[in-house]
Amino acid sequence: MEILNLYNSLNAYLLVAALLFAMGIYGLVTHRTLIGMLISAELILCGASLNFMAFNRFTAPDPAVGQIFALFIMAIAAAEAAIGLSIVIAIYRNYKTIDAEDLVKLNG
């Protein structure tokens, strides 16, 4: 059957990655808190990583390079989460809120 053979087609993985990316963009736009935006950014990074892995499996000549790239994306995502969350906590100490709409001190 065609639909049960989907795991051997590049397009299935690319579509799932595109959907993850689009959902991450949607969450980034609609979430009001900084932590929600950070979660959506993780979704975007995950979609990019899945794209790399799919091309790595189906088209690239050296199947180790894409895996190494995905590992580096994970390390960058972990560093980004640590720095972003400590900034969020520092903001919460100063402003008592993590709502992006309330952080308007420099608005004038």
Partner: protein, 174 residues
């Protein structure tokens, strides 16, 4: 009368469809839930689904690292931050602007349609594999061709740890 058992190939396909369903459901919960802690739970489900997809892509090592780093470290860090910083009875979304929801959906849909069109209508060149892509090959690459990047990423992680400590510690006494 018994139902015919699915063959091995069909079973793999069914498991793949379940993984896709888990991934998309988790992402949907992560971006649409009212409370932040449910968003984190959704993103954990999504990451586990993506780890299953990595397993289908012939890389069990990256799948393991995905669960270890994302679910074990990043998601736990985010839930600690929610416990430290999110006030009680907080709604993560609200009537900030009535245009935000529809415009977000439109932009996300345009992005998805564009990427899907590109993915389907492009002829991707397929090259022959020159090695197996196993853990041994990854380790050799990390210590030879990509040794510089490996060291740089260690420095980035070290700076990130120190920076997080400095940022989160400031103003703690008052």
């Amino acid at each position: 009368m018994t139902l015919p058992l699915p063959s091995q190939g069909n079973l793999v396909g069914i498991v793949f469809l379940i993984q896709i369903l888990v991934t998309i459901t988790g992402a949907f919960i992560a971006v649409n839930s009212e409370r932040l802690i449910r968003s984190v739970a959704g993103v954990i489900v999504c990451f586990i689904g993506v780890a299953g997809l990595y397993f289908f892509l012939n890389s069990p090592f990256v799948a393991m690292m995905q669960i270890l780093i994302y679910v074990g470290a990043v998601a736990i860090t985010i839930s600690f931050a929610i416990m430290l910083a999110a006030p009680e009875e907080y709604k993560s979304r609200g009537p900030a602007n009535i245009l935000v929801g529809p415009l977000g959906i439109i932009s996300a849909a345009l992005l998805f349609i564009g990427l899907a069109y590109l993915a389907i209508h492009t002829e991707w060149p397929v090259h022959a594999k020159i090695n197996s892509g196993s853990v041994e090959v990854i380790g050799t690459h990390l210590l030879t061709s990509y040794a510089m990047v490996f060291e740089l990423i260690s420095i980035v992680l070290l700076v990130a740890i120190l920076g997080a400590l400095v940022l989160a510690r400031r103003g703690r006494s008052n």
